[in-house]
Amino acid sequence: MVNHWRTAVVALGLWLLLTWPLDPHTGRLDGTAVAAGLAVAVLVAGTRRPAPAVALGRWLEPRRYFWALVFIGVFLWQVLLANLDVAYRILHPRLPIRPGIVKIRTALESTTARTLLANAITLTPGTLTVELVDGGWLYVHWLNVRSTDPVEAGTRIAASFERILGRIFE
């Protein structure tokens, strides 16, 4: 039941942000839009499979939010650097690439953290998560392979994200 309500609240929040029913000039709230959003949110929450329970205690620790902010900063910086590197390789007349699929291992245990790590790797240009298997192994397509050793490749590809994700989720 609690999980259903959580889904409804999140859906309604997204709806309000997207439709923005508050008129900026008169300051009046568009009641129809809010009511429609409320109806759809309850309908969605009622028909959907309940969301998995979360450990509430973890959500109340402020340091996790601090590390989440650090993660966003580190992530954006890495994306920018790596984009410039890939742009250079694409624009270079001789196309200096050494592609290949390497294998790395993550120590992260939680599935959310692993998903975010795989997504962060994929969004960082030059690396693309192709397969994830049990035991924390990730197969990563690397545009410019610098090391075929799982440990060293892991350090180069994932270590900066992994440390911070561990502090957020574990």
Binding site: L17, G100, A118, P125, L128
Partner: protein
């Protein structure tokens, strides 16, 4: 002033999008192309949306822009991962100049 910064961000975003498209044409195999197509374009789109939000400067646009960015950052890598994984499972070869393919050596999981 903010409009100038907004326009600069949009211009930079378009530049990354163009490089991404060039990469799609120049790179040799499906995996490398996916790299260019999804990432340069993700950063490009991110910059364009940020520029649009700065130019418009209203809270309603800020909320929409922020939501667009969150969904983009969550869905774009998930989609390209699914495509690359499907390509590898269906046997699409890597470019012949590739250095190694650990996934093929280990064998696909779940087969």
């Amino acid at each position: 002033m903010t409009e100038g910064i907004g326009a600069a961000l949009v211009g930079l975003g378009v530049a990354f999008d163009v490089v991404g498209c060039l990469g799609l044409l120049r790179l040799p195999d499906v995996y490398s192309r996916m790299q260019a197509a999804t990432k340069c374009v993700a950063l490009g789109t991110l910059l364009i949306v940020a520029g649009a939000v700065l130019t418009a400067g209203s809270p309603a646009v800020l909320a929409k822009g922020a939501l667009c960015l969150i969904f983009l950052v969550l869905t774009s890598p998930t989609g390209s991962h699914a495509l690359a994984r499907a390509a590898h499972r269906s046997g699409t070869p890597l470019w012949e100049g590739s250095v190694l393919d650990r996934l093929a050596e280990d064998g696909e999981e779940g087969r």
